[in-house]
Symmetry: C2
Subunit: 480 residues, 2 copies
Amino acid sequence: MPEHSPSKKALKRQRAELTEALLEAQYELRKANKGPVLVLVSGNDNGGKAEAIYSFYAWLDNRFLDTRAFALPQGIEQRMPHLWRYWISLPGPGKLGFYLGSWYHQPQIRYCRGEIDSEAFRRQMEEIARFEQLLTEEGVALVKLWLQVERSPSGENQSAGQEQTVVMREWGDLGSVDREKVTTSAHLMSALTSTPQAPWIAVPSDDAHYRDIRVGQIVLQQIQQLLGKQNKGPAPTPLLPAPLTRLQQVDYRLTLGKQQYRQQLRHYQARLRELVRHPGFAERSLLLVFEGADAAGKGGTIRRITQCLDPRYMRVHGTRAPTREQRRQPYLLRFWRRVPTPGRVVIFDRSYYGRVLVERVERFCNRRQWQRAYGEINDFEDQLQAKGTLVVKFWLAITEDEQLRRFQARERSPLKRYKLTDEDWRNRKRWPRYEQALNDMLAHTDTASAPWHVISAENKRYARVQTLKILCQTLQQALK
Amino acid sequence: MPEHSPSKKALKRQRAELTEALLEAQYELRKANKGPVLVLVSGNDNGGKAEAIYSFYAWLDNRFLDTRAFALPQGIEQRMPHLWRYWISLPGPGKLGFYLGSWYHQPQIRYCRGEIDSEAFRRQMEEIARFEQLLTEEGVALVKLWLQVERSPSGENQSAGQEQTVVMREWGDLGSVDREKVTTSAHLMSALTSTPQAPWIAVPSDDAHYRDIRVGQIVLQQIQQLLGKQNKGPAPTPLLPAPLTRLQQVDYRLTLGKQQYRQQLRHYQARLRELVRHPGFAERSLLLVFEGADAAGKGGTIRRITQCLDPRYMRVHGTRAPTREQRRQPYLLRFWRRVPTPGRVVIFDRSYYGRVLVERVERFCNRRQWQRAYGEINDFEDQLQAKGTLVVKFWLAITEDEQLRRFQARERSPLKRYKLTDEDWRNRKRWPRYEQALNDMLAHTDTASAPWHVISAENKRYARVQTLKILCQTLQQALK
């Protein structure tokens, strides 16, 4: 028995107290519908990672526990962004989740195998740090445990180097692993991803009883902190409003005659049909984002595109206000669940940009939330593009006057009357505020790899053809 | 141009009227949050199945359309019940969905290839008929289209036999197909699955314009019917209340001393650990159902089982009252989404049996709904078992007096107080009604392959050991 270790009786009492406190905390977490609390369990191979989880199943209400084990990516996982499978597996609020083989797993292996260099490894750690920041900001409590065995099974103390080698054992047959890289990767990981919100916590795991109690205490503390917390973390630097330059450049006079429209529509639709049948497209995928004021012509433009696509491999998603259930989960989750798999097309008729448009203007989220959304959205699109998804974004621009004319026409048309709601009239009054939000969005998310195409949509025919044209050009460029 | 075909102008007018009516119907469907309307598109290879769907994308709001194409089952699909992938893909309410390669596809191929005999084919058609009845009863409108080409591409009329051969082309390389079987399968399919609620409708498809308009009209009619309908279909034969025999046989005096309990618990837990590690279990899966009155000891019994299972391959689901979203979908859907895949264990702490217990007693569903649930649940369990899932069901029985004692103990215990709610006290008053519901459940769902184990749970120790023992026996029997 290690020195200073508590007596068996004291251990038992400690365990009983901990169980009671954890049960209480689990109940409060569930009642408050907060969280999830997500525990990443890493560490030495013989540190007892699975065993540390078993205790929670013995102590707590099993209905609100959720354990996932991730092996190296297989099948479709290999063709999707690294973080995708973790996103879509996130436990719901009120739950206590355990991840074995977390998002650290794969970059570490690849680095130690020499498949990526230290620069790429560093970038991935930075990406992970931003992802974890997003999660904690969105109400997920992250506990990152490193179960550490100081002694080898034979009982001897290990040097630091030996210990790290043990760490690697869980990854199975790694081929030739550079020991120096193992040490470097551990240091980089710790340096780049140990943040105040989600620090790495080492848990000595030689003694299983001590390990279980320590892990229980750490998780308890996290739940209590989550239940008590308002809004931790430093305040973000406020963003300056972007100048209203981009929209002022829109030429609303652009138009297209009926004859020309028919001809060009036919031309670009034929082109698009060819492009999505290109063998190279089977390895890529396409995410189209449509934003624009009410009555800007999003639906009609989208239908001119879907006419060229096979409905079996295509989905159009409308984005409505999040449900109560969805508001309790990280904002981007429902969009991660809808991203296209290879060979497929997903079209968002309104999208995750709602966070920085309607949710900002209508104050459905706070300043802190929409201000960090720009960076989060850029990360989201970057991660998709890194795996071959083309992200093409359109803003259909109309003037206030044109919107009024279209609203009035809708009121008169039996076919389109249903499209007009009281909300549309109310939104109209907030035009200037939407304009500022739009400009900020363009300023912060108009990236080189996923630029915004601002389309003059005052004339529907022009907008439809222009959109198709840009889409064809982008696809052609990508499939070259 | 075929004889009597309408002029181009008349066709255009007809199409415009249809579009308008469909748009209106789609809007009403969405507003009423009814449906989905699910269209199965089958028929000859050159009947234009995909093209018939294209029209809807050109006419309607693309955000509420949902097309799925099912090839022959692959990967995990092969190891799950035939209907599983259709269940978990069901479009939500308010949507218009299209299925290509529906649930008819695979049985037909297998029969025509000679992989199953006509008796097995007939059974599968009957299973499908019951599945479709469930769907239509639960608010899904089913449209089963058979797109029929009378002429071969060269323009000549085909004999009936030739036509059927064309039908088969879509299935790819079928090897040697018995033409007689093709005809038989078509006749059996039509005879066994053309019901008043979901008839097969043949659509002549030589002329694409005519086909599109006809399909549009059929779908329109279905949406309108769904929006207008109250409760169609014949009233079910009322079920007689089952006699209260089963519960009277429970011996509530059964008990187990502390010493014996420890010993037997250890024994059966060790046995269970072994059994789930048995190589044969990787091909099977386990679904455990726990029902019982409040405070019957379900959670504690479940924890004694989960202690033996690897949390990575196991999930415990609590079943709460369905959310508003879930109430609009077929009752069994959320359980289909949770069934175990091979090698895994799913435990329901309360289950789909809630339909015939709490939902019946509390009148959350009507008589018609809970009366047909018995058969639907039996089908559900049969389908799972046919693919190797073991379904083991426990009713933990306690007396009213014992429940009262446990409620009072919970009130006194800080650790368990949270388990007791006002609802628990209210449910207690309905004890006799629950007793009748329980007896009816036992009478109608205690099947040979998935029997109910009624466990005397007056003594917790006895109940835990008894449950483990039965579970071990069932597993051992199955893995032999």
